[in-house]
């Protein structure tokens, strides 16, 4: 069976790969958006922190014997804590300056983190196997669906929607949104805004680490796994509109699928299609599809 001259097998295969990539785009751009909303900085070390999540999973298994399920819980906490340290010791000193300094600082952090891991572990990947409960797959008739990949898509969808719910529908999220609009006023109402900023940064970083744990069995654990990925995620964030929560989720998944289909129909453009879309979106809407005016 073929669609537009392409076997359905290949079509659905790429659709799945697109959904997987989209899951990572969505989770990473969601974290970036949350951080940007409150701190007004682009967290350039997001890719490095995603990589740290994967390494945390690897270490937990190798050193402590803790498997995948524990990693899903512990790795984001540990990496999130390193984020809290970065925020408390360094980022905090930059809030009174131009926001570009935050970007430069996190860029420096990314270089140090990636350099250190590359120094220790080289550039080749370390294997991390799929947990036993999620190995194997289903034959759907028109394609073979590996269980782990289905799990990644479903799990990241759940994480994204939960985060959206927390921010848009709970009291804590209301504080957060209020502080995004006007931190001084919110602080005047007796809410500890600096602590909220720290926690927000920690959560954003934790989301990156969670994506890293999910990625470990699919891509290998590699010091540079986040370095180029994060640039694509930046483009996704620009398309969705900086700071928009739903925007990052929707554009993340959509662009993953678009990229997957480009691989089927015009493989040469698969690396650049997201950037081309970005240019087109910017021509029409300089603040992105879901963005507010800067």
């Amino acid at each position: 069976m073929t669609v537009f001259g392409v076997p359905t097998q290949a079509l659905f295969g790429q659709l799945l790969i697109g959904l997987i990539n989209g899951s990572f785009y969505a989770m990473l751009s969601l974290g970036l958006s949350i951080i940007f909303g409150l701190l007004n900085i682009i967290n350039f070390s997001h890719g490095a922190q995603y990589m740290m999540g994967a390494f945390a999973a690897y270490f937990l298994l190798q050193l402590a014997g803790l498997g995948y399920w524990w990693s899903l819980l512990i790795a984001p906490l540990v990496v999130g804590l390193t984020g809290v340290v970065i925020e408390r010791t360094m980022l905090k000193r930059l809030y009174h300056l131009d926001h570009l300094y935050g970007l430069l600082l996190t860029f420096g952090c990314a270089l140090v983190i990636q350099g250190a891991f590359r120094h220790e572990f080289g550039s080749s990947g370390l294997p991390y196997s799929i947990p036993a409960q999620l190995s194997g797959g289903y034959n759907l008739g028109f394609m073979f669906l590996p269980t782990y990949r289905a799990w990644v898509v479903v799990f990241s969808l759940v994480v994204c929607l939960t985060t959206w719910f927390l921010i848009e529908r709970t009291r804590l999220g209301a504080y957060l949104r209020a502080a995004t609009e006007n931190p001084v006023l919110v602080q005047a109402f007796g809410i500890n805004v600096p602590r909220m900023i720290t926690i927000t940064y920690g959560i954003g970083v934790g989301l990156a680490a969670l994506a890293g744990v999910l990625a470990a069995p699919i891509y290998q654990v590699n010091p540079l796994m986040g370095a180029d990925l994060i640039i694509v995620v930046f483009a996704v964030v620009v398309i969705g509109g900086l700071g928009s929560i739903m925007g990052s989720i929707v554009t993340g998944f959509t662009l993953g699928v678009v990229e997957g289909f480009t691989k089927v129909f015009y493989p040469e453009a698969s690396n650049t299609v997201i950037f081309v879309i970005m240019a087109l979106v910017l021509l029409v809407r300089p603040t992105g599809l879901f963005g507010r005016a800067p």
Binding site: L97, L105, F107, A235, L282
Partner: protein, 326 residues
Amino acid sequence: MTATVTEDRIVAPAVQPAAVPRHQIVAFVVMVAILLGLPFFVYPVFLMKALCFALFACAFNLLIGYVGLLSFGHAVFLGSAGYASAHAAKVWGFPTVAAIVYGTAVAAALGVVIGALAIRSRGIYFANITLAFAQMIYFFSLQAPMTGGEDGIQAVPRGTLFGVVDLGQPLAMYFTVLAIFLLGFLVIYRTIHSPFGQVLKAIRENEPRAVSLGYRAEHYKLLAFVLSATLSGLAGATKDIVFQLASLTDVHWTMSGEVVLMTLLGGLGTVFGPVVGAFVLITLEHYLAQLGAWFTIVQGFIFIVCVLTFRRGIVGELSRIIRKPL
């Protein structure tokens, strides 16, 4: 930008630039004297690399230091001009000067296209958008047939200067590069001290006010962007003729990060800062290159230290001590 020396807050039509202050002439003469003498003591190829990056950093500084726009994709102009000039010199057999001019023109054209799209936004949005465009060009360079993919364009002929001087000679090549660097440097100096440059600074300090005074900020910003792209291209085209190699390294985003670091370390918005920053960083790279990942770590630390405690940069601190802009 808080860290830059912001003594100029003049927002008025037809600003007359002041005469060049004497201490800047002295600094310029000292710089030229050092650069004329250095190749007799230091390996010329190393110096040529530093000069090309110094010009690149100066061009970048025109945008961040005087318009307040942080481009995180400037490598694209360096790299694409390099590809263009290398291709012209090697495949089409252009004479060296024509190849460099062609490369520079390609960077200028790219600057018009990317600039027109990017200057509609500012701040972090601008940084993000330039970065994404640069990555798009990177992937294009990786796949396009004329760039040679991972291999790059190798064995580019250095050729001659107007058919007279053989540029295979290290010193002849060095003084040609020096001349190109000084040309670019003076163009930038003239630009930032012209009425046009004063308007740019006005836009940096308070864009709505500059607009309300009747300046079309978008046009000024675009022109500055194209100028910066063109001079980055000049640096890239020259660099690839010197090294006889055009490679993917020059279009990768890490290169965009390096030029930010050079400018930051030397001093944002200072005339001589980017030159100093480029020389310091290229020297560091020279000694740390064997250590592999360590260079990346050191770069990262310099970034963090500069941003946290040393935002004026080397030349910025110097000029604070002598209380005169450098």
